[in-house]
Point group: C2
Chain length 418, copies 2
């Protein structure tokens, strides 16, 4: 069977299964999640063997160390998968809620019902634990899923798929509710993202390059996360201790995450006092500073920031620093260079706080908090399939609700239009 | 200046203006709408002259009669534009509302703020009144707009654009908040839909062909309305009078609208009693029936329905009729052939009503009401930019809320992530 035909088969089966999943009860879907948990727990041996196979293949083909690390299914990572399944089973079910019910002049009652999207395609790289995480969120939200993981993890994903099938079967749900693409052929991805008749949305998880390629070629809507060029702006008159604490945390808590600050903006009136304190803290943490001219007048040790630095997602211990005249310049800078991810103001001024919230066009805008809080768990979503930098449908951290839609429901008593 | 460059200029100006519009007060935006109303009222003479120019060009190039009709700006249509502007000014402003505010264990408060999308591109055909309608909805919801109407209406749209500019100016908003593409070059559309750096969403309004072309080529998200293959299912045991009233209204109230029923499904147990009554009513209205074998066994006068008939949006006095075993077959039929627009069940049975609502995967699902109610005004949205058959972002009738998004807002008191 060729790849096109194979993917169309998966699509057809997913579409049919999605109807069954959407109509299933919360208890049934939770049952499948917990049965999958038990199946994985019982399959530790076969998971380890499959993973060893992938790791051996990776080592033989010279896979880079960070990719080898992501590929590995350690006992602790399997424990985390089991715990994740338990947590998702315990989350409230978003499906079925009817809200915004109103009676219209015609007498009909109109409301909105939260419903699954249908079939979700997930495309990701070499982390096998994403298979369980993504599948569980899609199932909980009443959707069918087609998962396409990195070919490096093919054996691990097959072993996980067997456990997912066991869980679905135990709950009486169709196995096609969660399908793992069982081929390393790259054409499978091309087909998955161009069959809107079977797939309602694609969620790519991985590096910016992967996501840009998928977005360019997709004929199915994509919920995507591009880069996180996040800012902290220290306002005129901000509390100095708070400003330092937030600016240091936002940069140094973790370097490789999308909600890490990449550019610090400081009001001119605060720069002379704060920049030397900040430099000391950043130097202690090993962070390289790249500054504008006004920054370098205060911190001669900082390197020169170029235009490119304002656009850069370093994901590394490097920070671009710019002194701005005040909030207007700060908002201009952010709306010019930000990737629309997360930006924070440190201020004591209420009016400027509210202006920042309204006028900065990013998925998360914060007052007096570290950008590192932009995260589904910290926002109370209970889970996260990703952080969307899109403006449509789901924006910011995407939990179960982002995997659903709302349809209009109308209750009449025989009304006709006159 | 070439078209690419011209469109990029419009885009840049729109992006800059969108920030100003987003930050403007409700009163300012309403003021611009009412000033536009006055400007149009004062420009009736120049509107009539511009429109006469378009009509003469249309007549000379042999434009079809329905297109000539759409193109015409009668005094009554100008009155309707003025009234529309007044109504939009009176609608509640969706922008700025903060909802879902919760305090997290870390102490941060997280909520969602409703915000404009940014820049909206509208592509439509030869109705000049759409220029005012679409521009007013985009402005009210805090967005900048680039409008690209049919080239047949170029002179009329230029005259309207002058009034829109006057209205914006009177309110102190940038003129680039509403721009009308001032070239008949078709390459302008191609550019408009492929500049995500300047345009956040495209709303095409027009025939299915136009929308499919735009959707195929767009690199910007599209809020689209494809076809309306709507169903009424008359359930086992339905009230006969109600069933006939709804089935007749859903088909015959208007033939050319997207929420008109195109296929009638009748439970086998009700068919013998109801189909002859329905045939009588449809024949009186001049509706041609095309039935399945079981339908034709009861109504020998009906033509044969082919597979293609189940997929057809007739937009004409033709109706496909199918007898089904019951609700399972009805839901299967709808989920196979429906365009996900609007489907209604006529029933007395509560459990089947709720199953229909949950399991039919359409943007509007109804119980005991005519499909003709699927409309922004009947749903109380106050206005409508279109009816979305997409599942993401906006589904069903799209009002002002569909032209906005929600971002996360976080209020802290200096919290950092530990």
């Amino acid at each position: 069977m060729d790849v096109d035909q194979y993917m169309a088969e998966l699509g057809r089966a997913a579409r049919a299964a999605s109807r069954k999943v959407a109509a299933s009860s919360t208890a049934t879907r939770n049952g499948a999640l917990l049965a999958t948990r038990d199946a994985l727990d019982g399959a530790r041996q076969s998971l380890a063997e499959a993973n060893a196979e992938d790791l051996a293949r990776g080592a033989a083909s010279g896979l880079a160390a960070p990719l080898m690390d992501r590929l590995e299914l350690t006992p602790a990572r399997i424990d985390a998968m089991l715990e994740g399944l338990r947590q998702v089973a315990n989350l409230p079910d978003p499906v079925g809620a009817i809200t915004d019910m109103n009676t219209m002049p015609s007498g009909i009652q109109v409301g909105r019902m939260r419903v699954p999207l249908g079939v979700i395609g997930i495309i990701y790289e070499s982390r096998p634990n994403v298979t369980v995480e993504a599948a569980s969120l899609c199932l909980k939200s009443g959707n069918a899923t087609i998962l396409r993981g990195g070919s490096e993890a093919l054996a691990s994903n097959r072993a996980i798929a067997a456990c997912l099938a066991e869980g679905l079967q135990a709950a009486g749900l169709p196995e096609a509710a969660i399908q793992v693409v069982n081929t390393a052929d790259r054409a499978a991805v091309g087909r998955l993202i161009t069959m809107p008749e079977y797939v309602d949305v694609i969620v790519p998880r991985g590096g910016k390059g992967l996501i840009e390629r998928i977005n360019a070629d997709a004929r199915v809507p994509v919920i995507k996360h591009l880069d996180g060029v996040c800012h902290v702006y220290i306002d005129d008159g901000a509390d100095a201790d708070m400003a330092v604490a937030i600016a240091v945390n936002a940069k140094t808590h973790r370097y490789g995450t999308c909600n890490t600050m990449e550019t610090l903006l400081v009001a001119a009136s605060a720069a002379a006092q704060l920049l030397p304190r900040l430099e000391q803290a950043y130097t202690a943490a090993g962070v390289e500073l790249r500054g504008c001219d006004r920054t370098r007048a205060i911190l001669p040790g900082a390197k020169v920031a170029t235009e490119q630095d304002w656009r850069e997602e370093y994901l590394a211990p490097i920070l671009a620093v710019r002194v701005v005249g005040g909030i207007d310049e700060a908002i201009d800078h952010i709306n010019t260079y930000s990737s629309l991810h997360t930006d924070s103001i440190v201020t004591r001024d209420h009016a400027r706080a509210m202006r920042f919230l309204r006028e900065v066009d990013s998925s998360s805008v914060m007052v007096n908090a570290s950008t590192r809080f932009a995260d589904g768990f910290e926002y109370g979503l209970g889970a996260e399939i990703g952080i969307s930098t899109d403006k449509l449908h789901a924006r910011g951290p995407v939990g179960l609700e982002g995997l659903t839609s709302q349809k209009y429901v109308v209750f009449g008593e025989g009304q006709v239009r006159t």
